[in-house]
Each structure stands twice: as structure tokens, then as C-alpha cells.
């Protein structure tokens, strides 16, 4: 159940592949859910040039370990991988990777969702963006939706 802070760029999909192969549990899990958050070139209507991600060494790792422990306790996840960039980040860099392996799709997806939401709202990271006229702290993470969706109509045929 590795949790790692990465000061250098990483390729999230390659990391999932590499870690999955190291699990050696081929055939033992039926469901994998992956969430990847990437550095965008815009935020709050403004063009972003790059970003610096500050964290609280010690607490950040501890908090992420605790989220993963909670997720594993709540859903039947066989394994979880969390990677998060720190330091200077360029456009299109992968910032965060959450991956969960389970025998069951609901467990894999809910565990992934729980971890990214907790991370976004509680893990001690802070983004400072470079925009045209200087730098600015990102004030607050958003709800993660562009619009509030209506629940899908499960009864539709």
C-alpha cells in the first residue's frame, strides 16, 4: 500500500503498470480503478504557466497513509497506490495518482473516490500558481464538478 511524494515528474499510467506487475497477483483482482490529476494550463479563467506544490513534510505522508488505511478498512481493496508530486510542476505533469485494486468494482471505485476527496480536502498540500502578472496561492479546492449533475436515471431502458 505505497504512498509516495515525488519531487520529480512521473508517468502515472506507467507507474500503475509497473506497480501492478510487482503485485504478482494476476488473476486475483477483477477490478482496477485509477484516478489521475494533471496540471492544467488554466484555472479560474487565467492562464497558468507553472506551479509550486508546498507540503508539510512528515504530516503529509502520515495523513495519506491514514487515508489509505481508512479506505482499506472500509472497502475490500486488495491494494492501493498513491503518488503525489511536490515542488515545481509544469503544464501537463501528472500531479496525483490514486489506484485501487479489488475483486469488486464498487470497492475499487469507492476507495479511489474516497481517497481523492479526502486528499483534496485534508492532506496538507498548497499550490502556488505562476500567472502572467506574478504568483498567486490557490485559495481553495473546488467540489470537483463543472456542474452539479442530476443522478442518472437507473430505470431507463
Amino acid at each position: 500500500m505505497p504512498v509516495e511524494l515525488r519531487p520529480a515528474p512521473f508517468d502515472a499510467l506507467a507507474e500503475v503498470k509497473r506497480y501492478q506487475e510487482s503485485l504478482g497477483a494476476a488473476g486475483k483482482f477483477g477490478a482496477t480503478c485509477v484516478f489521475i490529476g494533471k496540471m492544467r494550463d488554466f484555472n479560474e479563467g487565467e492562464e497558468i504557466r507553472d506551479m509550486t506544490l508546498e507540503h508539510y513534510p512528515g504530516m503529509t505522508e502520515k495523513h495519506l497513509d491514514e487515508i489509505c488505511r481508512q479506505a482499506k478498512g472500509q472497502w475490500r481493496a486488495l491494494d492501493i497506490l498513491v503518488l503525489h508530486r511536490v515542488g515545481r510542476i509544469e503544464i501537463s505533469d501528472d500531479i496525483v495518482l490514486i489506484a485501487a485494486w479489488s475483486a469488486h468494482r464498487g470497492d475499487a471505485m469507492d476507495a479511489t473516490r474516497f481517497i481523492i476527496e479526502d486528499l483534496k480536502h485534508k492532506a496538507p498540500f498548497w499550490k502556488k500558481e505562476t500567472v502572467k502578472n506574478g504568483e498567486r496561492w490557490v485559495e481553495k479546492n473546488t467540489s470537483g464538478y463543472s456542474t452539479r449533475p442530476a443522478p442518472p436515471d437507473k430505470n431507463k431502458n
Partner: protein, 77 residues
């Protein structure tokens, strides 16, 4: 007793340092540390506080050796 204090992100910039320390008699609360460290500034509503790397709410009392951290809303992920 002695307390270690840390500041992150905007708080670090506004208070001009990443860490500090203070000595005090027993009975010190988080709000006392903030007042002392910030030169009497009002505590921002959105300010987050951790003691020994755990989030805390309210205004708990500190004990000798505690590490108190002040920081703005988190924006990772």
C-alpha cells in the same frame, strides 16, 4: 514548557518565517500561540491548525514538546 511552531504557504509568507519556537508556562492554548507569533493579528476564519501533525479543531491546550502548525485551506491533488 516549550512549543515548536510551523507556518505553511500563505501563513509562512505573511509571518515571514517557516518555523519558530516559544517557551511558556503551562496552560498555553493554540490561540495564545497564534497571538504571540503573529504579533496580535486576528486569526483568519479559514486558518487550519495541526498539533503533532494531526488536524485539530477549536482551541485546545498544548503540552510540553508539542509541534503546532498554522496553514491555509489545503489545495493538493
Amino acid at each position: 514548557m516549550s512549543i515548536k511552531v510551523k507556518f505553511f504557504a500563505r501563513m509562512r509568507e505573511e509571518l515571514g518565517r517557516a518555523e519558530d519556537a516559544m517557551e511558556h508556562a503551562a496552560g498555553l492554548k493554540v490561540s495564545d500561540v497564534w497571538r504571540e507569533m503573529s504579533g496580535g493579528r486576528e486569526m483568519p476564519d479559514s486558518l487550519l491548525v495541526a498539533i503533532n501533525m494531526e488536524h485539530v479543531k477549536g482551541d485546545p491546550e498544548l503540552k510540553d514538546g508539542d509541534e503546532v502548525a498554522f496553514f491555509p485551506p489545503v489545495t493538493g491533488g
